[in-house]
């Protein structure tokens, strides 16, 4: 019950958070001295044309009227029409979100599935050459620039070794659209060749994207484990002759992993932000490239719609992470 009321409270709290975000982004985008109308009007537009377009799109209205009109649209579930493409923002998001989420979820999964065991190994082999190597590796993972890593992986594994595709989600054929996630849609279509192709295309972008997350998870897990391994109850268990494997996986793991789980939400957000660069390099048809486009050209509806949606996703992910943490550490529920 406590956890349910916690979830409800957090969900309700997203409303003022999102409203604040909306106000901030709306104000920032409008106060920057630029006119997106000039871009859509074109290189040879006349002043009269620009004025007419400003009236058509309501940009001649006072800011608070423009904001109220936008809120009315949001209330109706309408995120507006993109100035650049003349397409509903929802349509743009529906097309571009699944590829981005497929990439981010895969990268997060790789980061967790590799980062946590590496962190455990580093903790168990503390001060050995394995520990030193892994620590250096994690520092490099955080420090290396995504664009450099992506280009290097493309050059080595795609261009020279011909082992992986250069970019995009699929080569040629795509599975029938159900979710927009190529892996899931391929499975639903029972097509092994397409599934293999989808996974094949995911490898390089996901590896590029996962590095900062993998490094963070490894470091957090290592320090969490080191802290737990020095606890009295662990020392007691060891002195009682309980096998080391049991101590690590039954007693230490659950307590050590709590701090790491709390990072999942943040890492997810970080990777979502990093998709911009990764999608550029691997011409991945996701949200990252679209976000850059709408921001560079001040496509107001596009900026607001994507920011709102990503804000909502980020908040929900963090609620889920908090719930998982509460499950792992019941003491957190007591404090609620």
């Amino acid at each position: 019950m406590k956890i349910i009321s916690f979830v409800i409270k957090r969900l309700l709290a997203t409303i003022p958070t999102l409203f604040g975000l909306l106000v901030l982004i709306f104000t920032l985008s409008r106060i920057i001295p630029t006119s997106p109308v000039m871009v859509i009007a074109g290189e040879f537009s006349t002043p009269a044309q620009i004025k007419a377009l400003e009236v058509r799109y309501g940009f001649d209205q006072p800011l608070h009227i423009q904001f109220l009109n936008y809120l009315k649209k949001i209330y109706r579930g309408d995120l507006g029409v993109s100035l650049r493409s003349n397409r509903p923002v929802i349509t743009e998001l529906k097309r571009r979100l699944p590829p981005t989420f497929e990439l981010v979820i895969t990268a997060t999964a790789i980061a967790v599935l590799l980062g946590v065991p590496l962190g455990i190994i580093a903790a168990l082999k503390r001060n050995s050459w394995i520990d030193h190597f892994l620590r250096a590796f994690t520092v490099a993972g955080v420090a290396v620039a995504s664009f450099w890593l992506g280009i290097m992986l493309q050059l080595v594994f795609s261009l020279y070794l011909q082992a992986f595709p250069l970019g995009d989600q699929m080569t040629g054929a795509v599975p029938p659209h159900v979710t927009g996630f190529m892996v899931i849609d391929s499975i639903l279509a029972f097509d092994g060749a397409l599934l293999l192709d989808a996974i094949h295309h995911l490898v390089l972008p996901a590896v590029t994207l996962c590095m900062p997350g993998l490094a963070s998870f490894a470091r957090f897990t290592r320090s969490g484990f080191l802290g737990v391994l020095q606890s009295d109850y662990i020392v007691y268990s060891q002195s009682m002759g309980i096998p080391k494997r049991k101590i690590i996986y039954k007693y230490a793991f659950k307590n050590a992993i709590v701090a790491t789980v709390s990072q999942v939400g943040l890492i997810f957000g970080l990777l979502l932000a990093n998709t911009v660069i990764v999608e550029y390099i691997y011409f991945w048809p996701g949200l990252g490239a679209y976000m850059v486009d709408v921001m560079l050209f001040f496509d107001y509806e596009g900026i607001l719609g994507t920011t709102l949606f990503i804000g909502l996703v980020f908040l929900i992910i963090n609620i889920i992470v908090d719930v998982i943490q509460a499950y792992l550490d019941p003491r957190i529920v007591e404090k609620l």
């Binding site: 009007a41 002043p47 970019g167 490239a289």
Partner: protein, 545 residues
């Protein structure tokens, strides 16, 4: 505890099995993925298909409103125009039209259509489609509408009969026919069917086509690009060598685009691949680089109304100081040529014979600056001048830095700032916020001097980025206004030549270069016809061996 079994000294069974498993996985992995890469699953592009990768994203498929460069790909292949530019120097050839009559005043044009031409859905192309296309373009007020609205109104076109339409211009125009290639003729019946609240079918046309070009739309993904297939009923026919399928896709990152070409996934790239990459590609035996001097000009704009650049001698000093040759050699790797025509491209008519352009001469720069110093108030002369470069376009930043550097040698204070294009172009539309100095290109859309000097140096375009310097010379303006509004080409030529000379004498801007546009193709691509307009993206004549 039992002792552990060992196979070799110090290696347990568990360790041995783990090692065996890892080795097997490595062996399989090193074999599987290259096998997949080479297999049909990843695939190579069949020889009857060409993939053209460009950096511009596709916003939509509406030929009247879609902006940036990407729309030319479908305007030239999915759509037809009354007239079209071909080759270089660009010639206007009749396309959907077969000819026209013009009244001597240059305000009324009667255009005759070829009979029996059809759209992809089988509807015949008639004068009503032309009338609808003009009305739609003007009413949409975007892109093409902007170019045509000075001379055409919504109701400018009258249908005389099924294949004849009459254009009654808002004012006499010498460049009307030169502007017609910008107007794609759309299927009025189809768009009326998909009209939503009087939007001229705009919502529908964003993701569909209503054209009559050699290719028809097969697949469209606004996040990636489009694929076209041969239209079987194309009047030009398909005998000889042609591509059955064409694809234009977006790869924003230049290194990825080039890798795609080298890997054979793309067969053509955009015409403005950076000069350092051109140098690298020229050495590759599987790549053809075909250079062409274009009508695209690059120049630095000088504010005409705000001191110190409001002073003619100050502007001349900058024109003499700019290091043209080092910029062309070191920054652009000789991928551009020096502007010999002042504001006009080197290949453009309207450039007077023997036009004296500015060459780097620091002594002359100092002399001009000394005069400017006497003429300007001290605080204006010594004011720090901001030079704006376009963010994301490294060559503009380098041009700005070169200018700031030579200005420093002359004892002037220049500051370089980079801003995105939207911010720059918006600020340039108001006198208070427009820039001291900034820079941009002018591409060929209408092959007429009006594109380069008619729109940049008359007050009519102040309030847009074209008129950002607020240039207003009482000797020049009447020449340009008259040249834009008469039909007699000989007289127009003389007017433009005179205006060009005056503008250069006025040192209105710093005209640096004409771009070379390089066709970059895999070596199996043939038949490309470069055109200064539309980037040579008409692929009808192309094939792959």
């Amino acid at each position: 505890m039992k002792g552990k079994e060992t196979y070799l000294k110090g290696i347990t069974r568990r360790t041995f099995i783990k090692g065996l498993g890892a080795g097997a996985a490595l062996t399989m992995g090193s074999g599987i993925f290259p096998a997949i890469s080479k297999s049909k699953l990843v695939g190579s592009v069949p020889p009857w298909k060409l993939v053209w990768s460009i950096p511009s994203p596709f916003q939509g498929l509406d030929p009247h409103t879609a902006g940036d460069d990407a729309p030319y790909s479908f305007k030239m292949n999915l759509y037809g125009q009354l007239y079209r530019y071909q080759d270089s120097p660009p010639k206007i050839v009749p396309w959907i039209a077969k000819g026209y009559d013009a009244d001597p005043g240059g305000q009324q044009f009667t255009v005759y259509l070829k009979e029996g031409l059809k759209f992809h859905d089988g509807n015949e192309i008639t004068a009503e489609d032309v009338r609808f296309s003009v009305e739609r373009t003007i009413e949409m007020k975007k892109q093409v509408g902007g170019t045509l609205s000075p001379i055409l109104a919504k109701d400018s076109v009258k249908v005389i009969d099924k294949y004849t339409c009459q254009f009654n211009l808002r004012r006499p125009s010498g460049y009307f026919i030169a502007a017609l290639p910008m107007l794609a003729i759309v299927n009025s019946k189809l768009l009326r069917k998909h009209d939503k609240d009087g939007d001229y079918g705009a919502t529908w046309l964003t993701d569909h086509e209503a054209g009559s070009g050699a290719y028809m739309l097969k697949k469209w993904d606004f996040a990636k690009g489009w694929v076209g297939v041969q239209w079987p009923d194309w009047p030009g026919g398909w005998s000889g060598n042609h591509l059955k399928e064409i694809e234009f896709n977006t790869i924003i990152e230049v290194s990825s685009r080039i890798s795609s070409l080298l890997k054979g996934q793309s067969h053509a790239l955009e015409l403005f691949v950076p000069p350092d990459q051109i140098k690298r590609l020229k050495g590759n035996p599987n790549v053809n680089v075909i250079p062409n001097t274009s009508l695209s000009t690059f120049f630095i704009r000088l504010n005409y109304t705000r001191p110190p650049t409001s002073n003619i001698h100050y502007r001349k000093a900058l024109n003499y100081a700019f290091p043209y040759d080092p910029y062309i050699e070191k920054v652009m790797h000789n991928n551009v040529v020096r502007s010999e025509g002042g504001p006009l491209p080197n290949k453009m008519w309207g450039r007077p014979e023997g036009l004296k352009i500015y060459k780097t001469d620091m002594e002359k720069a100092k002399k001009e600056l000394a005069i400017a110093k006497k003429e300007l108030p001290t605080e204006d002369f010594n004011r720090e001048v901001t030079v704006k470069a376009i963010k994301g376009y490294g060559s503009t930043k380098l041009a700005a830095l070169y200018l700031a550097d030579v200005a420093g040698e002359l004892g002037l204070k220049f500051k370089v700032v980079e801003e995105p294009w939207t911010v720059l172009s918006s600020a340039a539309s108001k006198k208070d916020t427009t820039h001291d100095i900034w820079m941009h290109w002018r591409n060929a859309h209408i092959v007429d001097p009006v594109t380069w000097i008619g729109r940049l140096y008359t007050p009519e375009y102040q309030g847009t980025f074209s008129g950002s310097t607020y240039y207003d010379n009482p000797e020049v303006t009447p020449l340009l206004v008259k040249a834009g509004s008469i039909a007699a080409q000989d007289e127009r030529k003389k007017l433009y030549e005179k205006a060009c000379s005056l503008i250069v004498e006025d040192a209105a801007d710093i005209w640096i270069s004409n771009e070379k546009l390089n066709g970059v193709f895999t070596s199996d691509v043939h038949g490309w016809r470069y055109c200064d307009v539309a980037f040579g993206w008409d692929v009808y004549s192309m094939w792959r061996a």
